[in-house]
């Protein structure tokens, strides 16, 4: 038991030796003990002197709790309304029809339906069809300077190839080649 609890709950005569020893420093005599006891009684009685808290404090707090509840329900209503709008939108709003764009290239030009960029002609350039180039009017005529032609160096022809060609032009028949003729007769 704490010192202050002993003082509050017991009388001096009721204290045992152990309790008196624990209170030695605080209340060595009966007078000191009673003085502290009375002081604690007066302090406790001070509770009765405290006025009652005004009713408006509770009323204002009460209103705040209610407003907090309202704000909560407002959020729920807003959430429910948003869901309903989304569902209604998904069901009833007309869907945009997309034209099928062929995956295979065709000769017909495909026109771009996306929003136009200022200055764009909105067409996809067609690479398959022949697009005749329009001649643009020429403002100035430039005369090209004629330069003397340079000699183009011919690559050297191998002499062996040249000899073979000559040889082939001379040997027109098998009978002209004696060794080859002998070989053919030997086979047959």
């Amino acid at each position: 038991m704490q010192a202050d609890e002993i003082i509050q709950q017991k009388e001096w005569v009721e204290l045992n030796a152990e309790e008196k020893a624990s209170l030695q420093e605080l209340a060595a005599t009966e007078q000191e003990f009673n003085l502290l006891k009375k002081m604690l009684q007066v302090s406790a009685e001070e509770n009765e002197e405290v006025p009652v808290v005004s009713a408006h404090v509770k009323d204002e707090l009460h209103a705040m709790v209610v407003s907090g509840k309202r704000s909560h329900t407002r959020y729920w209503y807003a959430a429910a309304a948003a869901i309903l709008l989304f569902i209604a939108g998904a069901i009833f709003l007309p869907k945009e029809k997309h034209t099928d764009i062929p995956l295979v290239k065709t000769d017909t030009p495909v026109y771009d339906s996306s929003p136009a960029i200022a200055g764009n002609n909105h067409t996809v350039p067609d690479t398959n069809t022949f697009q005749p180039q329009q001649k643009k009017p020429v403002d100035k005529i430039f005369i090209a300077k004629v330069l003397p032609q340079k000699k183009v160096q011919q690559p050297e022809v191998d002499n062996t190839d040249k000899n073979l060609q000559v040889y082939a032009s001379v040997c027109k028949t098998v009978s002209d080649e004696k060794e080859l003729l002998d070989l053919v007769t030997e086979i047959y």
């Binding site: 010192a3 001070e46 002197e49 509770k58």
Partner: protein, 190 residues
């Protein structure tokens, strides 16, 4: 609508979720339990200024309504709310205006119930002693001897170890006894 009677059996901590949802009956129950107690604490701590005590009482309940979800469930609600109240008092002490007010309200308003002149003087002396206590000692004095809270609860509210609280109570009583020593021989005893 659920009446306040139905929340009588609920613990303080259990009432908080209902308050957060806006159940006024739950709030009424909690206010019934702590409204006057907290007002009394503020009233005694803040130099018996009723308006200031009411403002603080209102503020602490507003904090409770707004931040009910911030309550640490491992803690006892009573000690939690008193610790908030104690911090609010600390803030009030720091305010310059209140210091000025303190000087103006230094003389306590006493009840006229004390018929015995010695007893009346003794009461005045006790009030004077408690009012002159520095903030921390005053909080300890009020929590222990007027709110009758236990040492572990006070320890939790003030954030001070229990052993320190015990020794502080001991030395606080000793200090008070020394200040009131003049009344030892007076006929103040029943």
């Amino acid at each position: 609508m659920i009446s306040r009677l139905s929340y009588k059996t609920y613990r303080d901590e259990e009432l908080l979720p209902f308050i957060k949802k806006g159940y006024t009956a739950a709030f009424d129950e909690l206010y019934e339990r702590y409204g006057q107690k907290l007002f009394s604490y503020f009233f005694r701590m803040l130099w018996k200024n009723k308006e200031l005590a009411e403002d603080c009482t209102q503020d602490i309940f507003i904090k409770l309504i707004k931040h009910a979800e911030g309550f640490d469930e491992t803690r006892n609600f009573s000690t939690w709310i008193y610790s908030i109240a104690n911090n609010m008092c600390k803030n009030e002490y720091r305010k310059k205006e209140v210091r000025v007010l303190h000087q103006q309200l230094e003389k306590p308003v006493l009840a006229v119930s004390a018929v015995n002149p010695d007893m009346r003087r003794f009461r005045e002396a006790v009030h004077s002693c408690t009012n002159e206590l520095p903030e921390e000692k005053k909080a300890l004095y009020i929590l222990r001897f007027q709110e009758n809270l236990s040492v572990p609860d006070i320890s939790s509210i003030l954030g001070i170890p229990e052993g320190t609280i015990k020794s502080r109570i001991f030395y606080l009583l000793k200090e008070m006894k020394e200040k009131l020593r003049d009344f030892e021989t007076l006929s103040i005893y029943p």
